[in-house]
């Protein structure tokens, strides 16, 4: 087995590593610690954060790609042949990928959704609902459900106990009682509840997926649950990596425009006014087309479809990043203008402190709340943007699993009679929960960090 990281894998792991190190440094300041403590004092924020962590967990699972040596009986022993690239998540959901059906089937169905023509043993042709290949219907769903729920419950209790045991110094029993009564400063009870509910839900879905197509199958018989879970990575990646690209540009240009003024300010303002007066979709469509042509001209850049779609995702993230920095840049420019007039900056100037030091020491730390707020706010916008762009046809690669692609396919399915609703429904639910959680958390962050809302 060898690791074959994709570009986006590297970026997302680098980001997680960077965030951890950055968080560790930031946690040394008492003020920052207190602020975050304050943010998570709200139960909604805590629950949202747990939901987001679940999504992040799936993203990270899906961001470890590797190849295993395949053992085909026919090949020579000297030649090592690798199986196609897989991620850890694929490994976990391998049965779903394998249990592909012929065509549409409804959630928990045992037969196909539409009638097919079959020829009987006695040569008679008739229409019938064919049974699904991989749904046996032998084991009782109730029994399965019970096992799943018990397993889930056991796992969540273990997880919670592990957390209490790791993170508190008091006696285990006193902490547990305090937590259950909700007497902590942080709403741990809500956190544990959210954690357990999510874990139960996923265990149930997972266990049931061995016997059924829990969320049905699509036109070519692919499992919709598998698609929805695989789409998590695409959505989350577009949300966080785009911000990563946009942020340095916005901060650098915004602060320079605000602090230096004069022709620098004029040039930057001209740039973002021009950019923001071109319709966003048009700009992105143009960028995607250019990229498409470029990729068609350089087939040596990628070895497999997975790599191609990954490269396309990377370019899409770049394009989204380049087109979406203007709003934040404008905000930062205005705030920098304000801060640079405040007396502590004048005092620093009177000490002959250099401009770069002034930016690093006085301006950027006082911009942090704006940056943080806009990052979490932009995240949900970008997840939704992916869906819209894929629907229009200028989003991610058509072979890539993404909620946008699922919705795009569902467009035709909705027009069928009887209607095929589960693709759209699953994509919608998965995306809705993610965006809702991100929005709720960003509301809370905004409330705590924005100096105008003093708590």
């Amino acid at each position: 087995m060898i690791l074959t990281p994709l570009w986006t894998d590297l970026m997302v792991w680098a980001l997680v590593l960077g965030a951890t190190v950055g968080g560790w440094f930031a946690a040394r300041s008492l003020r920052t610690r207190r602020q975050w403590h304050n943010i998570f004092r709200s139960g909604t924020a805590m629950a949202s954060a747990i939901v987001l962590l679940f999504y992040l967990f799936f993203t990270l699972l899906d961001s470890v790609h590797f190849r295993t040596v395949s053992e085909m009986p026919g090949t020579k022993s000297e030649q090592v042949v690798y199986a196609p690239m897989q991620s850890l998540l694929d490994l976990l959901l391998a049965h779903n990928l394998k249990n592909s059906e012929r065509t549409y089937s409804a959630p928990f169905a045992t037969h196909e959704y539409a009638k097919s023509i079959v020829v009987d043993a006695d040569g008679e042709t008739r229409q019938a609902y064919l049974p699904l290949k991989h749904v046996s219907g032998e084991s009782s769903p109730v029994k399965r459900t019970l096992t799943a729920l018990l397993t889930g419950l056991g796992m969540s209790i273990l997880g919670i106990m592990f957390h209490i045991w790791c993170c508190s110094r008091e006696r285990f029993k006193t902490v547990l009682i305090k937590r259950l009564r909700g007497e902590d400063t942080l709403p741990w009870r809500t956190a544990y509840l959210t954690f357990s509910v999510l874990l139960l839900l996923f265990t149930w879905l997972y266990v049931m997926s061995f016997d059924y197509h829990v969320l049905g199958t699509d036109k070519v018989g692919g499992d919709v649950l598998y698609q929805s879970i695989k789409s998590i990575r695409t959505g989350v990646l577009i949300g966080i990596l785009t911000t990563l690209i946009m942020l340095p540009v916005a901060v650098l240009l915004g602060v320079s425009a605000g602090l230096f003024g004069g022709w620098v300010d004029d040039a930057i303002q001209y740039l973002y006014t021009t950019l923001s007066s071109i319709p966003g979709v048009l700009l992105i469509a143009a960028g995607v087309l250019v990229m498409q042509v470029m990729m068609d001209g350089h087939p040596e850049w990628f070895a497999s479809t997975l790599e191609r779609s990954d490269l396309r995702l990377l370019f899409l993230i770049l394009i989204l990043g380049i087109t979406s920095w203007t709003g934040l840049c404008r905000l930062i420019r205005a705030e920098t203008l304000k801060i640079s007039q405040i007396e502590f900056v004048t005092a620093a100037k009177a000490f002959g402190v250099g401009k770069l030091t002034i930016i690093r020491r006085h301006i950027v730390p006082n911009l942090m709340h704006i940056i943080l707020i806009s990052v979490v706010l932009d995240f949900s916008g970008l997840v939704l943007a992916e869906a819209v762009l894929s629907y229009v046809g200028v989003g991610v690669d058509p072979t890539m699993y993404s909620w946008g692609n699922m919705i795009n396919q569902a467009r035709l399915e909705m027009a069928r009679e009887p209607m095929v609703w589960w693709s759209l429904f699953s994509a919608f639910v998965f995306m809705f929960i993610l965006v809702l959680a991100a929005n709720l958390l960003s509301d809370r962050i905004q409330k705590v960090l924005d100096p105008r809302n003093s708590l």
Partner: protein, 535 residues
């Protein structure tokens, strides 16, 4: 005579904490009752409680407020709304925020009248114009159609007063109505309030921190401290025989030491400013052509001797702060020379200037914006030392140096690791002074260092500045609008008006025998405490 307003044993609580503790007083018909206190003493809360406009976190725990024998706390909200504006009117400190910027001022006053009196359109208009006449707003017919931004601060305050008077209230609550105004304007507004009181037999609850204003205006005075009234007396007796020790110290701080400083003429000139002009270009049009100049500072000359203080006095917009910034080489100078120890500063490049940045430092007006909220006190003070290479180079020795410095400005050594938000205004101002002192300057430009502070804190800061001057013979350029502290801190005075110095000389000469009419007007407008008062 029956009192108009009776406040009886009023107590307010915020959560568990008592913010107002058994406040009682009465206001009679036609009386100006002054509620004096430092910030946080609960004087504004008292007025909000009377209007029943308290913020949600604070509630009334006990006590009663009676307006002409009717308890206000017993009224339902819709009846209380009739009382507000009609029976009790209020004017605020910031006329800027109290007026709606998108309505003409006439309409705003008319709205109040229509709401409470229900007059016909024409009658309302006439009433507004007559009110504008009463508050001595010039050309009331024209002003009716003006928007708030077209009026000056004093005019806005007049409009606010007109609005308050519109429904002929029994009681006017004035919450620091003149604090944001220049002295000459303040004198006019106070005069106006007095006249209205005479004419209408209006009762006024006047909230202020300024003892001199109280002396000029009030009939009776109550001093508040920590949410309780410590002393209440008629104005005359109050100033002649203050009873409570807190009141005595408050009055002493407000008076200043009273003795002018001894001026010796033998010292050398540290800073010489000659014909200094700072003009800001006004740009217009697509190509940003320069279409004119704002002459912020227009040819001023003065000098500061070593170890002495020059006070630069003037009203807002007179160019005092711009002068300070120009001396700090933070603004481009249009013309003139600034000589420091014989060296011409206006011609120096950024590198050569660094030596002089160490010698000229600055202390700001607003102690809250002068310190970066995200840096600890140690980091704030160290910044200048490191940048200019003053003091020891090793971090531990720097810490020791800074601790000593904090002790010098009467703070504690352990404050070094705290953050600005943990300190009060006066303490922050001390930190600002310590930051300037850290680089061992020879001239400190104090840009209104005391105007955001309470009287007692102001006295302490002035004392500190004087002591530091004696210890290290540093010179000050003391920029202020407050004439009452000039004789205490300064050796020489320069009076600025519209970018020019109209009069300068020793404190003795300028303050006692002013020549220029503007200086005379300034001195006449400044509210004064009785000079005979001694403890």
């Amino acid at each position: 005579m029956k009192p108009i307003l009776t406040v009886k044993e009023l107590s307010l609580v915020s959560g568990e904490e008592k913010v107002l503790d058994g406040v009682s007083f009465e206001i009679k018909q036609g009386e100006i009752f002054a509620l004096v206190g430092e910030s946080g003493s609960g004087k504004s809360l008292t007025s909000l409680a009377i209007m029943r406009l308290l913020p949600e976190a604070i509630r009334v725990s006990s006590g009663d407020v009676r307006l002409q024998e009717k308890s206000l706390f017993a009224l339902p909200e819709y009846k209380m709304q009739k009382v507000r504006g009609k029976k009790i009117a209020m004017i605020f400190q910031e006329p800027m925020n109290a007026l709606n910027p998108v309505m003409t001022v006439g309409e705003q006053v008319a709205e109040v009248i229509r709401l409470h009196l229900g007059l016909a359109q024409e009658a309302v208009r006439d009433k507004v114009v007559s009110l504008f006449e009463e508050v001595a707003l010039k050309e009331p017919h024209e002003r009716y159609h003006w928007y708030p931004h077209q009026l000056s601060g004093g005019q806005k305050q007049r409009v606010m007063i007109a609005m308050a008077l519109a429904c002929e209230p029994d009681l006017l609550i004035a919450d620091e109505p003149t604090t944001a105004l220049d002295v000459t304007i303040q004198a006019q507004v106070l005069e106006l309030l007095k006249r209205i009181r005479e004419r209408r037999k209006l009762s006024i609850l006047f909230i202020t921190h300024d003892m001199a204003v109280v002396y000029q205006l009030a009939d009776r005075v109550a001093v508040m401290r920590h949410g309780a009234i410590v002393e209440e007396a008629a104005c005359r007796t109050f100033f002649e025989h203050p009873g409570h020790p807190y009141t005595q110290s408050l009055l002493r701080d407000a008076m200043g030491s009273g003795q002018a400083r001894i001026v010796s003429s033998e010292s050398t000139r540290l800073l010489e400013v000659k014909g200094l002009k700072v003009h800001f270009p006004v740009r217009k049009g697509f190509f940003q052509r320069i279409s004119g100049y704002v002459k912020a500072v227009d040819g001023i000359s003065f000098s500061i001797p070593k170890g002495k203080t020059l006070a630069l006095v003037g009203e807002s917009g007179s160019g005092k702060s711009t002068t300070g910034q120009a001396i700090l080489s933070l603004l481009p100078v249009s013309a003139g020379s600034i000589k420091f120890e014989g060296e011409e500063l206006t011609r120096l490049g950024a590198k050569a200037l660094k030596l002089y940045r160490q010698k000229i430092q600055v202390v700001f007006q607003d102690p809250f914006s002068a310190l970066n909220p995200r840096m600890s006190i140690g980091e704030i003070i160290r910044e200048g030392m490191v940048s200019l290479g003053v003091g020891p180079a090793r971090k531990r020795e720097q810490d020791a140096y800074m601790e000593e410095l904090l002790l010098r400005v009467e703070l504690k050594a352990e404050h070094l690791h705290r953050f600005p938000h943990e300190f009060s205004g006066g303490q922050r101002q001390r930190i600002g002074i310590a930051r300037a002192l850290a680089v061992k300057p020879e001239l400190i430009i104090c840009d209104e260092p005391t105007s955001a502070l309470d009287v007692s804190v102001r006295a302490q800061i002035l004392k500190l500045l004087k002591r530091l001057q004696q210890e290290s013979s540093v010179s000050y350029l003391f920029i202020t609008h407050d004439l009452s502290i000039v004789s205490e801190i300064a050796d020489e005075v320069a009076v600025m008006k519209e970018g020019r110095i109209v009069e300068q000389g020793t404190v003795e000469n300028v303050m006692h025998t002013p020549h220029h009419p503007y200086t005379k007007q300034l001195l006449a407008s400044a509210p004064r405490l009785p000079t005979a008062y001694q403890i």
